[in-house]
């Protein structure tokens, strides 16, 4: 063994043998690491550019020539690609997401708070924790399968309810379930529940113990402490989780296909001002004929339109008229702003059939004609823009949170 002479520089750098090669390997690994990262991020960029290219947004297409025009957002789907748009899809997506949010946000937050603040250490609690962890790993299509089995086939069918329930309730409930917006909203709500629960737990866990102690010390009860002191501090973290969950629900396709989301919807679950509305007077049988054709009803006409009598004679009517009309008469009017706003009531749209943006995009993607693929690309850009924006907002919020709060 030769001694190393610290005075001679070459001896140290040359020791141990092969150091240069090892250092070269070490440095060159950075290239591999960066390359792998670039492949990942490059995919995202390629995806965006490919969609923009297919929708004629890139390179340098002037606004208006592209598929992604205002008309695209204001038209129903159609068999003519030049006429087709995503109106029913985005309205459906909004209604489904509102339902999802109303269901999943309160339940998710309450469950997260329970597990973090209240839950005793016992088998029930560990069962709940195991369930939450497993739910996060269940494929989304299985949520759709459960919804198909329970909400569509059983709850959507008045005949399959237990007999002791009153018939009126059975029918009303079956109208709401089935292949409806309510079913879709519940399904997606259950799907994103673990996301919100986990985010809430992390946010609540991050609130320091001193804050709870201070509140309890001045006589606040446990729930008062949680409600007024823990939750406000945990809010930004909770909101981050909610945004990520909702953005996931917006992009989900598979569970909604399972419950029978429609791929072609040319109507809206709500009414727009100016839409034609039809209202038939009296109780009708299944063929649309009045049960009691002799009966009449006194009706006040709300806005100008046409009345079609049971013998198919038409007569124009004006707003404010009060008429005695036989059962089976149809009043055709155009919806006013008041009618439109009244149609936003959940009881009006919860039970209706629906489509959503990912299903619409899927439908166009599975058609062979190039024009429909352009529409699919345009729908994809809208979807991608929404999800990337929402996730970007969540990332920014998390970043701000980490910077601003120093306990």
């Amino acid at each position: 063994m030769t001694a190393i002479d610290a005075g001679r520089e070459r001896d140290i750098t040359a020791h141990p043998p092969g150091l240069d090669a090892r250092r070269f390997k070490d440095r060159s690994f950075i290239i591999w690491g960066v390359l792998a990262t670039v492949i990942g991020l490059g995919t995202l960029l390629t995806l965006v550019l490919e969609l923009m290219h297919d929708a004629h947004l890139w390179p340098f297409a002037p606004w208006g020539q592209s598929v992604l025009s205002p008309r695209f957002f204001l038209s129903f789907p159609s068999s003519d690609p030049a006429e087709a748009g995503i109106l029913s899809a985005w309205v459906g997506s909004i209604l489904v997401i509102v339902t999802t949010a109303v269901i999943s946000i309160p339940i998710g937050i309450l469950a997260g708070v329970y597990l973090e603040e209240y839950a005793p250490k016992n088998p029930v609690t560990s069962a709940i924790e195991i369930a939450v962890n497993n739910l996060a790993g269940v494929p989304s299509i299985l949520f759709g399968l459960m919804a198909l089995g329970i909400f569509v086939q059983v709850l959507g069918n008045a005949g399959r309810y237990p007999d002791f329930l009153p018939e009126g309730f059975r029918n009303a409930s079956a109208d709401l379930f089935g292949q409806s917006i309510l079913t879709a909203g519940i399904t997606l709500g259950l799907l994103i529940l673990p996301v919100i629960i986990v985010a809430t737990r992390e946010a609540v866990r991050g609130v320091p113990q001193e804050i709870r102690h201070a509140a309890l010390a001045v006589g606040a009860t446990k729930w008062q402490t949680t409600q007024h002191h823990v939750l406000p501090y945990a809010l930004p973290g909770v909101v981050t989780g909610v945004i990520i969950g909702i953005s996931r629900a917006l992009g989900e396709t598979a569970p909604l296909i399972m419950i029978g989301g429609l791929t072609f919807v040319a109507f809206l679950p709500i009414t727009r001002p100016g839409d034609a509305t039809f209202e038939t007077i009296g109780v009708l049988d299944e063929y649309g004929a009045p049960l009691n054709s002799a009966a009449t009803e006194r009706v006040r006409i709300e806005s100008d339109g046409i009345v079609v009598l049971p013998d198919f004679t038409e007569r124009p009517v004006q707003a404010g008229q009060v008429l005695d009309l036989p059962h089976g008469t149809t009043i055709q009017t155009t919806a006013s702003w008041g009618d439109a706003i009244a149609s936003w009531s959940p009881s009006n749209w919860l039970g209706q059939e629906f489509t959503v943006m990912p299903i619409q995009m899927f439908n166009w993607t599975s058609r062979p004609q190039a024009e429909f693929l352009e529409l699919a690309a345009a729908a994809g850009i809208v979807l991608l823009a929404i999800t990337l924006l929402m996730n970007g907002a969540a990332i920014y919020l998390r970043y701000r949170l980490r910077k601003s709060i120093k306990w």
Binding site: D26, F29, I30, W32, G33, A36, T37, I39, G40, L41, L44, L47, E50, L51, L110, A111, V113, Y114, L115, Y118, A119, I128, A131, V132, N134, G137, V138, S140, I141, L142, L145, M146, L148, I150, Q153, L193, T221, K222, W223, I244, G251, E252, T253, A254, I257, M258, P358, M361, F362, T365, L373, A376, G380, L383, L384, T387, L388, N391, I395, R398
Partner: protein
């Protein structure tokens, strides 16, 4: 004046609130039970007509034919082929990213790259399906033609590759967490012996974090098994025994979506068959999740 310090009125409110919180949390258990109940009870109706033996051993899956055959094997072969391709893409890339971020990159770079990479998992899968069908497949067709391989326009190769890109963030992020949990003293010991960062990464950090890394890979795998839209759009919907990724084939999820897209009459054998497929999917994903969870628990080194 007598004041009521026991606050019995408040206590009732407290009780109600606590009950409400418990019900919300217990809902998670109810959902799991609901999924298991629906899938198992509807599958039971299926297995009343089709023997479990046929289901597990037959190699033909043609439930919509006149003479239906119910062997789950073709669907499983499609699922595993797509998952294998996905893992072939995601494991090397995900681990490279994880090692780079945990051992080489500075804190600022890591803070920037990690969330950006997680956007890959946020892209709606139907958009990925479009990308696989209309970008990756034509590209692969062009590349493979000189090699004498004709890639059909529906194939599991491009579907699997895009699925792999989708699960990179799961694998990278979870393995990076596991690697960063390895204590600094172990790295310093390695550096003190003269090892480079790369040698430390591969001989000290990765072996120490191996249970977390394997857990991350299995979770990514279970994500790929349950993925639906990419394979429905780009993988084809013909159930067949798949032996090569360049073939088209239906996965378990693709079959379920395909049947649901048609109007299926309640109570028929076809209707029940999607629940049997769902049962297979549930067993697979829960099984893998359990293994990942167990690995992370069992082999977590206590430092």
């Amino acid at each position: 004046m007598e004041r009521d310090f026991t606050k019995s009125r408040l206590r009732v409110g407290e009780r109600i609130m606590e009950g409400l919180l418990f019900v919300a949390a217990a809902l998670a258990v109810a959902i799991v039970l609901g999924i298991v109940y629906v899938v198992v009870s509807e599958s039971a109706k299926f297995f009343a007509h089709v023997s479990v033996f046929e289901f597990l051993t037959s190699t033909t899956w043609t439930p919509l034919f006149d003479n239906p055959q119910y062997g789950i094997a073709p669907l499983l072969s499609g699922t595993f082929m797509a998952t294998l391709v996905a893992l072939a893409v995601a494991v090397p890339l995900g681990l490279l990213v994880a090692i780079y971020l945990s051992e080489f990159a500075g804190a600022r770079t890591r803070e920037m790259i990690k969330p950006t990479l997680e956007l890959l998992a946020a892209v709606p899968t139907v958009v990925y399906g479009y990308f696989a069908l209309l970008f990756v497949t034509p590209l692969l067709q062009q590349w493979l033609r000189p090699l004498g391989i004709e890639l059909p326009s529906f194939n599991l190769l491009s579907a699997g590759m895009v699925m792999g890109l989708m699960i990179i963030p799961y694998i990278a992020s979870l393995s990076e967490d596991a690697m960063r949990a390895v204590p600094r003293s172990m790295r310093e010991g390695s550096f003190a012996m003269g090892a480079t960062r790369l040698e430390t990464a591969f001989r000290v950090v990765v072996p120490a974090a191996i249970s977390g890394v394997v857990g991350a890979v299995i979770l990514g795998m279970s994500r790929a098994i349950g993925e639906t839209m990419i394979v429905v759009v780009a993988g084809g919907q013909m159930p067949q025994m798949v032996t090569s990724p360049t073939q088209q084939g239906a996965t378990v999820t693709a079959f379920m979506a395909q049947v649901a897209l048609g109007d299926l009459p309640y109570g028929t054998l076809e209707y029940n068959s999607i629940f049997a497929a769902g049962l297979a999917l549930l067993v697979l994903t829960l099984g893998f999740n359990f293994i990942a969870f167990w690995l992370q628990r069992r082999f977590r080194e206590a430092y």
